[in-house]
Each structure stands twice: as C-alpha cells, then as structure tokens.
C-alpha cells in the first residue's frame, strides 16, 4: 500500500447520496444480484439444488413414467413422453428454484445483513429486486442445463426454434413473477426454517395438480376443475403449445389465446406481489 490516507479519518470526500435516484436503484439492484449469484455458486447445497435435483427429476420421470404414459398422449407429443414432459418440468424446476428467493431472504433477515442494508443510503427496492433478478439469472443457467440434458434424452421441439425459445422465455418470465411471491412469503416467514416448509409445501400440490406431468383429463372432476384454472397449468399449456403446437392443448384452445392468458396471469402476479413485498419491506421500518 502506497496510500498514506488514514483509513480511520472521518468526513473525507465521499460522494454522499442525498437522495436515491432511479439510476442508483438500478445500480444497487445489479450490485445486490451479483452478491446473491456469488452465494448461489459458492454454496454447495444450492448448486446441487439448482442442477442435480432438477436433472434427476427429468431423467426419472422420463424413464420411469415415460413408457406407460406415452401411449395415452396426444399425437402432438410425437409419441415421446420427453416431448410432453419438457415444457412442464421446466416450469416445475423454475418454481422450485424460486423458493430460494424466500429462503435466501430470510437468511439475510435473521443474519443481520438486512439491517446493514437498511442502514445504508441505498435504494430500498434493491434488496428485493436484486434478489429476484439474481434468481432470474440463475434460472437462465438452470434452464440451459435442463434443455441440454433434455436434448440428450431425445427432446425435440415439434414446432420451431422460435417456438422453443418463446416457450422458455415465457417460463422464465413466470418464474420471475413467482420470485416476487416468494419474496413476500420470505418477509412473512421471517426465518429460513419457516420459509423452507411454508414455501415448498404449497408448491408440491400446486405443481402436481396441474398439467405439468400429465393432461388433466383423467383427474377426478373436482381436481380437474382446479387444475384447469390455476396459473401453473395456463403457463405450462402455453409453453407446451409454443413447443409442440396447438395439438398439445386441451380442445378449443389456440396457442395465441393460451399465451395471452398465461401472460395475463404472469403480469398480474408479478405486479401485485412486487408492490406488496416492497411495501412490506419498507413497513418493517416502523
């Protein structure tokens, strides 16, 4: 160190923020998301959670159920369960991954890190926005891995590359909206243990009572009524329509119509929970 500056001298020329601008908010969000991504890459259990677990689901579902199920699928699946499964399991993986938003946030809350952030002249929204953005970037990585393994297992989009990419993009957008739900749940749960059970528990029935793994037509009427109308089914159907064509959708649905419904759900969920969670985060300072 050639510096002769006294590190402990106070009040030197620090460009102090007097108020936080929109540009500051963007910068802070990027700083925070980079921090969260480092953590994701360096925490072994998070790496396993993000890579091995979803790949295992994909491989097991494909080989264990594929043989029996492929006979009953619509022709749009091209006779291979992996084609039907892929759009669904992508959404399932993203949902499970989004739960990390809640758990990571509660870890910061109990560890005192959030207190530090709150005492800094940074954008209030950046703590949550940085976390959801970091999770989105992680999800892009997980998605790439899933698609690679899927191709190895024989997955082929029956429409076009554009359809495939559009389906993936829709799933990622939905996962981003769900991250805001998870941020809200994390702020409610307040500690990692509560977040773990409080978040993962409801995800399981929501994922299974949907069109993620199978068409809903063989479910009992009451379950089908729920499954057909919940957002996960709408998003999975839209992604499936984009990747496999209109024949993969329930009778009477068009791909465009299904995509619009999925987008409406995604935007509504994202907006509502972004507003709610940021308000909750701010109000914690009372």
């Amino acid at each position: 160190m050639t510096s002769t500056v006294d590190p402990f001298a106070t009040g030197a020329a620090t460009p102090a923020r007097v108020r936080v601008t929109a540009l500051d908010a963007v910068r802070d969000t990027l700083v925070m998301s980079r921090r969260n991504l480092r953590r994701t890459v360096r925490l072994p259990q998070l790496v396993v959670f993000a890579t091995i677990q979803p790949v295992m689901f994909l491989v097991l579902f494909n080989y264990v159920f594929g043989g029996a199920i492929s006979q009953t699928l619509p022709p749009a699946a091209g006779g291979a369960y992996i084609n039907w499964l892929m759009p669904g399991i992508i959404v399932q993986t993203l949902l499970f991954g989004a739960s990390q938003t809640a758990i990571g946030l509660t870890e910061d809350l109990v560890g005192g890190v959030v207190d530090r952030f709150r005492s800094l002249p940074m954008a209030r929204s950046a703590v949550l926005a940085g976390r959801t953005l970091g999770d989105l970037v992680r999800n892009v990585g997980v998605m790439t891995l899933m698609l690679l393994i899927g191709f190895v297992l024989g997955f082929r989009a029956q429409t076009s590359w554009t359809g495939l990419l559009a389906g993936v993009a829709l799933a990622l957008l939905f996962s981003y909206a769900i991250s805001w739900v998870m941020a809200t749940l994390g702020l409610l749960a307040k500690n990692p243990e509560a977040a773990q059970s409080g978040v993962l528990l409801p995800i399981f029935p929501l994922v299974f009572a949907s069109s993620v793994f199978l068409p809903t037509t063989t479910m009992p009427w009451w379950l089908q009524a729920f499954a057909d109308n919940q957002p996960i089914t709408h998003v999975v159907n839209a992604a499936r329509g984009l990747m496999l064509g209109e024949g993969a959708l329930p009778a009477g649905h068009s791909v465009t119509g299904q995509v619009l419904v999925a987008l409406a759900w995604t935007v509504a969920i994202g907006l509502v929970f972004a507003v709610v969670s940021v308000a909750m985060y701010r109000r914690a300072v009372q």
């Binding site: 160190m1 510096s3 500056v5 006294d6 590190p7 402990f8 001298a9 106070t10 009040g11 030197a12 620090t14 460009p15 102090a16 923020r17 007097v18 108020r19 936080v20 500051d24 910068r27 802070d28 700083v31 921090r35 480092r38 953590r39 360096r42 925490l43 560890g111 005192g112 890190v113 207190d115 530090r116 952030f117 709150r118 005492s119 800094l120 002249p121 940074m122 950046a126 300072v285 009372q286």
Partner: protein, 346 residues
C-alpha cells in the same frame, strides 16, 4: 441544516447526536419512554443497560432501522426520520451479529458496501483496501469470510461500517461473545477511530468496556436514561466505593492486616457471607466500581433482567475480577440506590 433542536451537551458544545423526548412503543410495551440524549462530537459515548432496557431500540432508531413513535432525533444535523437517506450517509452501524456474508470474500463484502454507499467501482476498490488494512485484514482479504474467526468477522463488520467515512458510528455490543485478545484489538480500533474524529455511540454490558473507552456514560433502564455523566461522575454518585473480598477462613487474619494497610481503613468481616469488606481509598477509581454504580442505579446487575426479588444488602461489593458483569457478590442497595435522574442530567 442547523441543529434545529438546539441540543447542547453538558460541555456547552452542540450535540452531534441529539435525541429529544423519544418514545417508542411496540403494542402495549414502551421500549423507550421519553429519552433525552446529547452526545458531543469526537468522543465515545457509552450506553449501559441490562437486556431489554432499550439500548438496541435506541440504536436502531438512530440508525434509521426503526422510527420513533414520538420525539425527534438528529444525527450530524440531519433529522433521521424526515431525511433518512441523508442520515444514512453520515452513520455507520456494526451490530451484535457480524452482518457479513460468509460466502463472499472479505474484499467482496466491503466493496459491495462501498458500491451501496454510492462509490464508483474504482473508489470502492480503493476504499476497501484502506479499511481492510485499517482493521488488519489485508492478508485475509481474498478468503471467504466463512473461514474467518469470530474476531476477524467482527473486524470485517467494523470495516464495513467505516466504508462511507461516517462521522457517527454506532457499535451495538461490539465485543459480545469474542475472546479477550480480540476485544483488546477492537478497543484499540475504536480508540483510533475517535482519534480520527469519529463520534462513537457504544452499547455494552461490560462496564470495563465503557470505563475504558467512553468519555461519557449513560445508563438506560426500562426505556429511560436514568443517569448520565462521565465515568468518574457516576462513581461519585455512589459516595465512595467498597471493596469486598472472599477469603478462606484460615487466612482471614492475614487478609485483614493486609487490607488495613492498603486501604487505610479497618476492614469488617461479614460472617454471614464470609466476606471481608473495606472502604476503597479515595482516588482509587477502578473500573469495577462502575459495576456498582450500575447496580445501585438499576437495582439489578448488568446483563440481567430485573430480579424478581432483590436481596437487600446495604452497600455494594466490588470484586477483583474485571469484566464480569454479574459477579456473585453484587447486591443492590447502597446509599445511592435511588434513581439519580436529577442532579446528574444537565
């Protein structure tokens, strides 16, 4: 912005931390019940009190983490409620729990905080080098923090709070749970900081810590600042200290002779409790005496909630073991047992 409250400290200097009639309620609980505080710049101000007294609540309000229910708070001339962002540029906070990321390196932790203070990437890098060297973590800068010892984490936490060169630093029980060597090192850092012009508000349960570092001490209990002044002033309110010694019975005679010579007063033997007691000689202002001040003011030892049934032994009992917040021989009572809200507060 001028000091709108016109808060003046005991020395007649304008206060850098000014707290006026602050009340904070959580539901039915009054965590702070009308606190007034004026801290002059450039000193360590020690805030003493048992758990639940309101120390941390006050720090959290001063650090913009909580809003007061009523009352006004200004730090470095800025109202922390009305202008929280500006206040945050003037403060640093190091808490009871080292709020650093185990899965980032020391350098990454500090750079991140620098960026969040609004420094450019280059400024943040340069400042990070400075503060890491300052807390003697330059060598460990590129290690993941999860490999750091508890003392290193505390120093990193302190470094993080210094990135923005804050004129006011809050240390909430900075040495709780760390070993004596690291405590000494942290004390040294705090002294360097104050020499550099920083004002430090320190909460602690260790009276030794307050006596060693703090130019002024405030005792907070049940949400109120019940007394404040210099350490010596606080000791004076007791009207002389009493030294109490536990001895083996067979050494009693020897001990009495030795004590009589040292203290210049005749020791008395308390048979019931097997203790020798003697008035401390004038001018021997030991730190341990502060423990007694604290005890006689709040009626319960530091670090403990008010006891259900306080024993009523007259006098107080310093023991020869510094840093022990709740020694066995400490009992409430004594000549200055009344809350000294008048007389000391100015």
């Amino acid at each position: 912005m001028s000091t709108a409250q016109g808060a003046i400290t005991g020395d007649g200097a304008p206060a850098i931390i000014a707290v006026r009639d602050v009340v904070k309620t959580f539901g039915a609980v009054r965590a702070l019940d009308g606190v007034n505080l004026a801290v002059p710049p450039g000193i360590v101000y020690g805030l003493l009190g048992p758990n639940g007294a309101g120390k941390t609540t006050l720090i959290r309000i001063l650090a913009t983490l909580l809003r007061p229910t009523s009352g006004r708070v200004e730090v470095a001339g800025v109202d922390v409620v009305a202008n929280a962002t500006a206040a945050r540029t003037r403060i640093g906070l190091a808490g009871q729990f080292a709020a650093v990321d185990g899965y980032q390196t020391g350098r990454e932790n500090i750079e991140m905080v620098g960026r969040l203070y609004g420094l450019s990437p280059r400024q943040a890098r340069r400042r990070t080098e400075e503060v890491l060297d300052g807390v003697d973590l330059g060598q460990a800068a590129d290690r993941l923090v999860r490999t750091y010892s508890g003392g290193m984490r505390r120093r990193l936490d302190l470094a993080a709070s210094l990135v923005g060169r804050p004129p006011v630093l809050y240390l909430d029980e900075p040495t709780t749970g760390i070993d004596p060597a690291n405590r000494m090192e942290l004390w040294g850092l705090v002294e360097e900081l104050v020499a550099g012009g920083t004002t430090v508000l320190l909460t602690t349960q260790h009276l030794e810590e307050a006596d060693r570092l703090a130019a002024r001490i405030g005792v907070i209990d049940q949400g109120q600042l019940i007394v404040e002044g210099t350490a010596d002033e606080l000791k004076d309110t007791l009207g002389g200290s009493v030294l109490e010694l536990a001895t083996a019975e067979e050494h009693e005679t020897t001990a009495v002779q030795v004590l009589a010579r040292v203290a210049g007063d005749e020791p008395a033997y308390d048979a019931e409790r097997a203790r020798l007691r003697v008035r401390a000689p004038d001018g021997s202002r030991t730190l341990i005496a502060a423990d007694d001040v604290f005890l006689s003011l709040t009626g319960h030892p530091t670090g403990q909630a008010p006891p259900a049934a306080a024993e009523a032994h007259p006098g107080s009992a310093p023991q020869g073991r510094p840093g022990q917040p709740a020694g066995a021989g400490h009992t409430p009572g004594g000549p200055a047992a009344r809350p000294a809200s008048e007389g000391q507060r100015r």
